[in-house]
């Protein structure tokens, strides 16, 4: 834990500059707009420890795989999120000396991430070696409205002298990734230009040849009034800039506005990048900083209307949930079906790739309830478009006849990961991808999606499962050998309950989906059969045979589902009895020790119970929770939210609250000492789930919405907004009552504590709290 940030409802605030926290702050104060993102690196020179990070969505580098020992089937490359050319840079000189917070003294340093309006503000007084003091203010944002624009306003005021101050805004294409496998740089320079008051750079990634263009235009001001200064026009290798120098009086504010346009070959043809960048930069520049900001903050206002969660009486919890929601919106806006939600979003390089099962298992529940349905639909279509690659991927592993295995980690549908126990064996991801289709449909009734896209994916996935199991002559059941479940602290195990459960669910749901499509649109069904070469009779019979006779490990004595075969052979010492000095165990124990221990990294059997909750009665959920929670170390960011939801379900409100705090403030308070690498973006959706599905008890079954709210004793009141069947409603939970506020033009039906509630358009319906 590292609690250096100030609690506040709408802002993340750091007071006093501590270089040892800077890399964490660079992550925490990151900005993004779904199309690009930027760590909270300083504009001016900074010679201390930093992770420079500027990211353009959809651009990656296929970095040649690095392994100790190669295994057949490993991918050739790991797709890396790319640190892109630096567009925020503004070198500042005070009478010839570079301003550098690592070497000068600072006073009244304050860094604020304003989440309500989406900007980063930095204010401080710097005291230079020669005693000269300057007050500095820097504000920047990455526009949600003009999505190719980033804007910076940077001001310096001499406090105790009159002297020469210079700003050198620049664009730097000579950047590197910290996690390059072979210490290569990933970009080549294509083009650059520098003129008075503007500069442009176009770079291209090695190997795949993605192009990105960066343009800047600047204005300078004295006391807020524009002044024209003839800059020195500068060019270095893959670097262009302007240097503006001015004699500034004591107490006079010298400012620069840098408007930056960023484009990429995802959206323009490669040869047009320079022109497009110029156009984009000019458009932004013409609007100007203030107007850009106004449109930008309006966009944020809209986002908050539909996705804010208000918590009264608990600022830490309030700040935590908004921080999570804020970063989710910064990472993914749902406008581009080629993009996805990377585990670190635009806040770091780690884990490369863009797409893990996190998207389906955690992010979709968030987006489906807080954003228009097309956002989720685009995330689903992303996988549909990668179905061919998933089939190829399965073929590499010996599967056939259209069986599809989606990759563990991917950018373009190809597998990127290279640990056999994960790449080849953590196959439950296929289940989450299928389930997301179901989840989307039950929230939207968009059955059309099945015909158009979903059914093909479901068939591919079910085929995979049907080939992945085998008949055990000993158990006289179908078994699934050699898998890794969500609990990655077990590898290459047999009959992971969760995976077996999801596999069975997939085959059953695909069977239902087939019936549905057949009934709704027989032509469409026939087309799908032809396209996928689907032999309905044989394949459906096979699936039924398997689902009827699937083996699920179960312990009769304690009446609990067993995470996998042999789990009860382990030594069972509970987490509470572990030496705290040995935790987190992944930092202190060798891998084999972790594997043979009973400790669970993240919800596994409980994940299954969470996903398929309707199949289990409350007693079963309780028994399993009480068995597994004391054995779970939650060393994955994706774990506490699920436990929080189930704890809430079975009435363990304190446990639910403990788990909620852990997930919501994971990065702000840096629980795992890893915020410097980037934020846990996808688990942030889990935080939202733990409020809405946990405390709020939100469920959707058969196209019906259910709420069973409880409220932690630490809270006075909380409220969340939901989109359901394209209707918009707000739920306000206080100690004594539940208010359902309709923001919809249609009547809404839902169940609160099992009781049907009908809310007329824009009506508020109250229910007594249980």
């Amino acid at each position: 834990m590292r609690e250096y940030l100030i609690h506040d409802e709408w802002n993340i605030i750091e007071e006093g500059f501590q270089p040892e926290n800077h890399k964490s702050s660079e992550s925490i104060f990151s900005l993004g707009n779904g199309k690009m993102g930027q760590r909270a690196n300083f504009e001016e020179t900074y010679t201390g420890p930093t992770l420079q990070g500027s990211y353009v969505a959809g651009i990656y580098y296929p970095d040649k795989t690095r392994v100790g020992w190669w295994k057949n089937g490993y991918p050739e490359y790991f797709a890396k999120v790319l640190n892109s050319p630096n567009w925020i840079g503004i070198d500042v000189q005070i009478d010839g000396h570079f301003l550098d917070l690592y070497t000068c003294k600072t006073e009244n340093f304050r860094r604020v991430l304003n989440m309500q309006e989406g900007f980063l503000l930095r204010e401080f007084t710097a005291i230079m070696d020669d005693g000269k003091k300057v007050a500095v203010t820097a504000k920047r944002f990455v526009s949600m409205a003009d999505t190719e624009i980033g804007a910076i306003r940077y001001s310096v005021t001499p406090l105790n002298f009159e002297g020469k101050i210079s700003f050198t805004p620049y664009l730097d294409g000579d950047v590197e990734n910290e996690d390059s496998n072979y210490d290569e740089k990933f970009w080549n320079l294509i083009d650059m230009e520098a003129h008075s008051g503007e500069a442009y750079i176009v770079t291209e990634t090695k190997k795949l040849g993605f192009r990105a263009g960066f343009g800047m235009m600047t204005k300078t001001f004295i006391q807020g009034v524009e002044v024209k200064i003839q800059p020195e026009i500068m060019k270095k290798e893959a670097w262009v800039g302007n240097r503006f120098e001015k004699e500034v009086k004591e107490g006079e504010e010298f400012s620069i506005e840098k408007i930056v346009g960023v484009t990429s070959s995802l959206n323009y043809s490669k040869n047009d990048i320079l022109v497009a960048t110029k156009k984009s930069t000019k458009a932004g520049f013409d609007k100007g900083f203030d107007q850009l900001f106004s449109s930008h903050s309006n966009e944020w206002k809209q986002k908050w209307v539909h996705s804010d969660i208000k918590i009264e009486g608990d600022i830490a919890a309030q700040q935590g949930i908004r921080f999570n929601i804020f970063h989710l919106h910064q990472t993914y806006t749902g406008e581009d079906e080629r993009l996805n939600v990377g585990p670190k979003g635009f806040t770091g390089e780690k884990y490369g790739g863009s797409t893990y099962w996190d998207t389906e298992a955690y992010c979709i529940p968030f987006f489906i309830s807080t954003a228009p349905s097309n956002v989720t639909r685009n995330l689903l279509i992303y996988r549909y478009k990668q179905l061919d690659k998933a089939i190829e991927n399965a073929e590499k592993l010996g599967f056939k006849d259209g069986a599809a295995l989606y990759p563990m980690v991917t950018m373009n549908g190809e597998e990127c990961h290279n640990e056999w126990e994960i790449t080849f064996e953590e196959i439950h991801r296929n289940g989450a991808i299928a389930f997301a289709i179901h989840n989307y449909i039950r929230h939207t009734n968009d059955f059309k999606y099945l015909e158009e896209y979903g059914l093909e994916v479901l068939i591919g996935i079910s085929r995979f499962w049907s080939q992945r199991v085998n008949w055990s002559g000993e158990k006289k059941k179908y078994v699934m050998l050699g898998v890794t479940g969500p609990n990655e602290y077990e590898n290459n195990i047999n009959n992971n309950w969760y995976t077996n459960k999801m596999a069975t669910w997939c085959m059953k749901y695909t069977t239902e989906a087939i019936a549905k499509v057949k009934q709704n649109n027989a032509d469409a069904f026939n087309q799908i059969c032809n396209k996928t070469n689907f032999k309905a009779e044989v394949e459906l019979a096979k699936w039924k045979e398997i689902t009827d006779q699937m083996y699920f490990p179960f312990n009769e004595e304690i009446n609990v589902f067993m995470q996998q075969d042999g789990y009860m052979d382990k030594e069972h010492i509970l987490v509470k009895d572990l030496d705290p000095k040995q935790r987190p165990i992944n930092q202190y124990w060798s891998w084999d020790r972790i594997l043979r221990s009973c400790y669970i990294k993240q919800a596994d059997t409980l994940q299954g119970i969470y996903v398929l909750e309707e199949e289990f009665d409350l007693e079963t959920i309780k028994r399993n929770f009480e068995f597994y929670e004391p054995r779970t170390v939650h060393e994955s960011s994706l774990s506490p939210c699920v436990h929080s939801i189930l704890a809430a379900k079975i009435g363990l409100t304190d446990k639910a609250y403990e788990m909620y705090l852990r997930t919501s403030r994971l990065d702000i308070d840096d629980y795992n000492h890893e915020a410097h690498e980037g934020l846990h973006i996808t688990s942030m959706a889990g935080t939202w789930m733990s409020v809405v599905e946990g405390f709020g008890g939100k469920r959707v079954y058969d196209g019906k919405l259910y709420l069973n709210p409880i409220i932690p004793k630490q809270w006075k009141k909380y409220a969340f907004r939901l989109t359901f069947m394209n209707n918009d409603l707000e739920v306000i939970v206080s100690k004594d009552k539940i208010e359902v506020v309709s923001h919809s033009d249609n009547p809404i039906e839902l169940y609160v504590y099992g009781k049907l509630i009908k809310a007329e358009p824009h009506q508020i319906v109250e229910t007594e709290a249980h």
Copy 2:
């Protein structure tokens, strides 16, 4: 398979030069003397594909670990066998053109590895681009008598012209390892000198600073008569040489003898290397090529007396077994307890390290029966000296109180391997190391070894096992979770029968050894207790409790030991029913598919039955063999020998012969298409085992020698030599009789087909064959 070598009893012969086989031949025709070794690289320039390999025993480079995903407990480095400075080089120019077999035409090319006398001979006619023909002969050896000396005689005879021929003998320190993890070079130059007729180079390894010195002195001859030629003295970066040029007449033989001295800081202080190298080189040079060769070939004669296996009626088998014995002797002579038997010996870089469990499990059975007992004793002492590191290694994995886990791969006792499923889990190696102590003692009655060294090792190993098991509340037995057995086609499995068996055996044997030492030398025992802090009562009781209640997977239905938990859950399709196009499966299947298949890479349960054969009756052995052999793909070089021995035991002579051929000609016929990387040195000892223990039926129980010979129908007769209790005997097996020939000065007792035979000194005793 690649059968390009000619069958011959004593020689390996290649006729006609095929560059595509050259890298394999470089391995197969390698030379060594236990202290250094040299692949059969050409002396003259060769621009075709080659793996340059010159190795000095005990010198290695700790190459920074390369992994995809780091796991706690991984070692910092992988110790690499080092390609050392090139000392064989002699560039040859014919009228200014370099002789290069990759670019010129050759006729009558013949390469011979004479195993009886231990030399490499090459003869060919080269036709240069301009039509000039030269006859070339090159002979070299690495002296078994003068172990710091290598010697080359190289002759060129112009066949159709008179012209200038030059020899440039050189020493080249600028060499690299093909398998460098980060493309670094591993050597620095320390010193070099070149004078007329001699040159020296001293290099030092990076990081650990091992030094090696190489010296050369040369003589030139015309028609065998020495001629003095003033050489051009040459120096380049880390390269020294002399160039001897001579106008040579048609039909006249121009020759050079290059005598090389090689020393290292293993045997000299670092600053003395240059002086020692000069001295060593001079001593060799003074003896001269012919005298050096005569001493060398005498050494080989002695080695063959004690270890030859003669097979009549089957040249391929004869050649195979001699090839294996020859390379074992070249790799390890047992004179230096700091050395060990690397899996590729001096024939390639692959697998780095020097010491695997191969040494104890395969090589010791060979050396204990063919070499003086101190050779095996030195191999055991090597592990004794590394006990502290084994204890440290276990501590890294969470073990305590003196538990020892020997590394999977090591040079100096530190673990080098970095695959969790092997490094941390393939712990059966500890069992082989303990068993080797027992094996040594039962062959020698050297119980003193236990007091001096063995018992401490046994205690450390037994402590490890006692901590590695845990009580299963479910099975009500001790279990061992998360291991990899000898069959590496299963990872992270529970209750590997072999590992559980060996663990139990270790604890029982240590208990017996303690009793023995206590009885023989109570003082020594007390000292060991103090040194190891051994709490006899408590620890022995714990071991007994575990061994009494250990779990061994067993299938009641088929009455067969189960390789591990869940083995019968797999799909059981026999190897014979596998698509041959899919084999070897390790080249065609992804790792997960291999893991969940029933296919066995190498003897596992059968390995245990082989090692502890006396515990099992013939029916049990048969049943288990008949179950496991059809499921074994033998994709490890260490597998067929064990199956061959057991097949012989249960009367499946044809199967035993098939397995024997596979092991004995594995490299000569390049079964696995990997001879180019180096030879399977340690499995060569398995070949010896398959003749002596398999066909010969040699066993030792309770200090008594048993033989149960059978003879494959393909053979007329075979004979092998044995050292047992320091007595020397020969066993000649023909279709109708067994002759035991005593070469000992003491009477020998042994059992042939269970009948006690007494051989007086130098007597021959005949028994009828069964």
